[in-house]
Symmetry: C2
Amino acid sequence: MKSLKSVLPILEWAPAYTRTEAQSDLVAALIVTIMLVPQSLAYAMLAGLPPQVGLYASILPLIAYAVFGTSRALAVGPVAVVSLMTAAAVGQVAAPGSAQYLTAAITLAFLSGLVLVAMSVLRLGFLANFLSHPVISGFITASGLLIATSQMKHILGIRAEGDTLPEMLTALFGGLGQTNPYTVVIGVSATTFLFWVRKRLKPLLLARGMRPRPADLLAKAGPVAAIVVSILLVVGFGLAERGVRIVGEIPAGFPPFALPSFDLGLWQKLALPAVLISLVGFVESVSVAQTLAAKRRQRIVPNQELTALGASNIAAALSAGYPVTGGFARSVVNFDAGAETPLAGAYTAAGILAATLFLTPLFRFLPQAVLAATIIVAVLSLVDVAAIRRTWAYSRPDFAAMAVTILTVLLVGVEAGITAGVGLSLLLFLWRTSRPHMAIVGLVPGTQHFRNVDRHSVITDPAILSIRVDESLYFANVRALEDAVYDRVASQPALRHVILMCPAVNAIDASALESLESIAHRLQSAGIGFHLSEVKGPVMDALKKSDFLTGFAGQIFMSQYDAVRALQTPATAPAKLASV
Amino acid sequence: MKSLKSVLPILEWAPAYTRTEAQSDLVAALIVTIMLVPQSLAYAMLAGLPPQVGLYASILPLIAYAVFGTSRALAVGPVAVVSLMTAAAVGQVAAPGSAQYLTAAITLAFLSGLVLVAMSVLRLGFLANFLSHPVISGFITASGLLIATSQMKHILGIRAEGDTLPEMLTALFGGLGQTNPYTVVIGVSATTFLFWVRKRLKPLLLARGMRPRPADLLAKAGPVAAIVVSILLVVGFGLAERGVRIVGEIPAGFPPFALPSFDLGLWQKLALPAVLISLVGFVESVSVAQTLAAKRRQRIVPNQELTALGASNIAAALSAGYPVTGGFARSVVNFDAGAETPLAGAYTAAGILAATLFLTPLFRFLPQAVLAATIIVAVLSLVDVAAIRRTWAYSRPDFAAMAVTILTVLLVGVEAGITAGVGLSLLLFLWRTSRPHMAIVGLVPGTQHFRNVDRHSVITDPAILSIRVDESLYFANVRALEDAVYDRVASQPALRHVILMCPAVNAIDASALESLESIAHRLQSAGIGFHLSEVKGPVMDALKKSDFLTGFAGQIFMSQYDAVRALQTPATAPAKLASV
């Protein structure tokens, strides 16, 4: 049963499900439902989809995750960044509002699901490691800015399209003349109110003597208050007739069964976005899940998370939804509200279903400006200026990768941004490892230790070059070793022996092996011996599998001290004392 | 003057040029010229270009290299692999034989030159490190096979076009009926003769008492004999009228001044091929140059080689040539024949110019089959089956990169092949480094040393987890560390402290720093302390620049022994003896 349990984690906890756990899960589900209904409507709008699609994406996917997921608290569903990525990808293949647009979104969810499941089966989760933290952080910051800007048109009540920051700003300024005053009042009030709720309400309630947990929950219900008040205002003052754009009629009922398109041309166009959405969604989701699991000493299985998120996305596709992943804020709320098992997610799904069945008429008069306000307030918390400053202070290459990601997202687009960031961070990584730390070493007088000649007073022998490499040898850095050795050979005429000291060499790949061979041959043809010392056991085992040792004219010494003692000739020893 | 000398290495050796050096250079140039004339004609045919273009590519580029190059023996000019890559790239944008085809080849040389100079100026030579040895070796082996197959049509005297191995073989079998018997006799005889000269002539001459050097040179003159004899046969028996295809009229005269196309669309199409040609040419060239330089303890400056090869390619473009690089065989001949300075290359250029001015009428009746035979014999020496076997034995990931390169080159094309090989080797490298070697360590009884619990009988404490990472921590491997720590925390309920032992951690990037922070916070929230031990000096310096230490609740110990002694509680010590 162990293997079945690892594929279906539900079998792990469901048989022992207790009444106490059920109570906790139900309370958590109620709170998450209240939070998720407006978010689902808002993020569907952000993705350019009808509002009910956001609700559909918050039902079946949650049940799929409850069956397959290993996190007890992760809440999946539509999230801001993935909604933006969906809009960018689907907007390239279909016009917003068209049937093709919806089909493309469903297909994107399906493809993301396939990619995630394939990554799980093929154990390709390590691909997520391509996304370094600065790239992810820069991507999310830039996405947050882009999303907030994209929502300004709803706050102003104007039409303003654009995919990049300059396009959006141009369209916004160009459309300022068409601003609808009622919309602006509602939008600005809602945004201000939600910011106030987020930043000030909880401290205020605590100061008035409320206990932390209800204070927290009351603060989380802020969007609900904004929604109720704004609907009442729209209905009471007939604002829809005065140009305030409202959500409009949302069809009530169960999510329909849907099928993705199987048009190969569409699949090709959506393949890269699907991969990027999968990777970004997976990285974010696992990060949240691990943070929450660690607090209760629970365990997340990243490879199983791929399956679970894949199943969630396929479920989203089959129920007319769009790509989903684990959301940060809602998972924390779920955890804080006491969710004990993934069933909390299934209960949330039931809550959203109930809302879809019975509450949709209520949202008809909800102003789009209020949804935009909830999005703006949510995504501005994604903008992490401190991370930018921190990265700048700690590492310039990491900062460069982050800056390129941010600028490319803002000026070109989300896919280009993440691709550029990943490409640059790989390039910078290779650049760094292609110049490993190497030291010319000498003997510390009176000891058997060898140290860097640039840092210590050590004894060296002009006929012997001892060089230590502080890195595994592989294709990207062996040329640096070759260059260093040849430079030294050309500049040190008395040289008779080169000893490569290998205590920090954890591996030698085929390129490095060939380089060592050619160094040995080239030095030999110049009458110089080439030797190794302090080769680690596993590396020695690998060398023995190759024919390196049979063709190797030099010696391999257990210690650098043995090497220098054996190779020193009476004529050159005692050697000069080099101190720098 | 030092900086000027480093840009114009000619200033280094020219002022002290001696009569003895001049004599050596002239002899070497004469021999290389004899070898290079037929090669230039043959490789131009391989590239799909008129024969004189090969000669033009062997004049000005050699002079440019003589001015800028740091190798004393490298002989640049048209080479087989780059000719194949040129044919593949140019064939995609123009029809062979058209004026556009020639313009595209000239433009490709110009772009390669720009890429190489840009790489030199921007210090991007490290990009060549992307090409691991197995990928390069597989690429050259597959190119050799592809080139040899492509030349079979000339040996059979048939028309057979195709870009991939299956296409070529299909066309060859389909065209067997049109085989020209005279051509086959000439082609097969020439191939057999050239193979015999290459493998057997020198040993035979040595056995007859000839001294090694003249024997070697006589063997190198084999192609000249084949050319002379075949021309006489064609003229004597009127074979051109019997269907033996000949080179035809080659216009005599100086290389014309040419300009590349400045059509941006063409530049875009040729950009990737130009980058790949630059990288492959640079890697091959530097490798030959370093091998030869090491024999005389001379020095190659890789970055300056980029400038020199860039200048050579721009010179090729401006004189109606096509992409060039340093050739292996001709450089070895140049070196063995005694070339002392790059002036030998300039003398060779003069020799080729003389041939272009005065000898072209002689080549009119040269059968294409003989040129094909010289190509086949030359490129089959590029096929390195031993390298394939060696790589298989030593490393499966390296072998996979090599196999994918070979198969993709043969079945799809040269550009796809090298791109797939580089992509896969990077992926495999990341995959390997994303799972660094980590060991849970314990105290060796009676010492202060800590060793892997899986390999040694050591003392561990159930309340303390000591984990050692044998790799620098960076974005691709920190998640593995997180997973390992969280797994252990979830399965070891008595755990109170985790100590990360860092003697092999040479660097911590921004992603790893954040991971360490989140490990610390997550463990803290589970009531577990997180500490570091044996952090290297440079890593500690970097940590001090960040705000990591201010937020770090754990301790940093000089030694693992200090750490365990400080964190051990009387209740848990003395600990159980874990031996595996």
